[in-house]
Subunit: 193 residues, 2 copies
Amino acid sequence: MLLFWRKGYEATTMNDLVEELGLGRGSIYAAYGDKHRLFVLALGRYLGHQTTLLDSALGDTGPVLPHLRDVIDRLLAADAACTGAGCFSVNSIAELLPNDAEVAELARRSLQFAEDAFTTQLERAARSGELSPAIGPRDAAHLLVTTVQGLQIMRKADPDPARAAACLDSLFTLLAPTTAPTAPTPAPAYATP
Amino acid sequence: MLLFWRKGYEATTMNDLVEELGLGRGSIYAAYGDKHRLFVLALGRYLGHQTTLLDSALGDTGPVLPHLRDVIDRLLAADAACTGAGCFSVNSIAELLPNDAEVAELARRSLQFAEDAFTTQLERAARSGELSPAIGPRDAAHLLVTTVQGLQIMRKADPDPARAAACLDSLFTLLAPTTAPTAPTPAPAYATP
DNA sequence: TATGTTTTGGAACGTGCAGTCCAGAACGGT
DNA sequence: ACCGTTCTGGACTGCACGTTCCAAAACATA
């Protein structure tokens, strides 16, 4: 499925896929239906993998923001394995929406899941004072998701990982509360009221 | 050129373009060369238009952040004219990079221009105390450009303009310096031992 | 109006596409 | 070992693609 990822839907031919999968055309059609279905399946797998990564990585103890940052770094690194191709999901949204309802539904669900997961984490961050009071958890999560999407675009134009890291640094700095009095936040021992 | 914008490069056929432009095939090839050159020309025009919009809108007096916000709103609105198609530049980056050097060069230049323009503005903002001291003007500009790219992706998945506006609100709130003594901090007091 | 030149746009071309088909290989039950 | 069933994959099909070509229309000059 790397081809769909690297070249997009339209630019990938069935011949390419035959070569990549090592199967005959007939077998591919028998197993997956047509080209579009195969694409949707591939995208679904990719999103499932990303979702799993997110789901398993986000816990409910410890400092939130550094952990969140780490998870996002890992997501970006996973995409970077496919050098220069960016994020399969972002590429698909850009290429096929708003003309492909099936892909739209997949993408929407995945984005919603990410935003919800981030919101849960950031609610915890807000409770423990790790999140700037200037912004609510849900808004912060939405901004975070949006910026990560943007990062995936920017990386295609400039693959230097340092740029992406710097951008995330900036955002996470802004998301943290103004670091005047309680600089290191040693223990997030928060009480349940 | 709306077709390239709406459907992308690969999905747009020469037949489509003949119909859209109202010219014969021969005329198109005589005037513009091949399909790819035509695409590059169209993208160049689009980027030129965006650049002009940016260039003419950014002044050197008055409050920076609200004005910047307004300019970005206008850029988004210009793209929204082509309902649901998002941003031609973002779509092209996602579809054709890293396999198209010509488009890559165009996109890079345009992104660089936007970042530079934002940086100039944010330097002024920093001088007048409008920018949070937590972030430098260049980093803020880079983050801003990145988030706008992300917004263009998010809008394709969820075209509700309110979502994009809320996202920009969040970012600009974070970019502003902490508003005085932060009155409404309902911070659930966590103990620093 | 007559003539040399440019422009137009539809017909035609070769290629490569997505999708189908089927002979034979691989497999499994007995 | 036999044979009914499933699976495999290369040959094939019709079609639509990007591109080229050229007769005729439009224009410019005198």
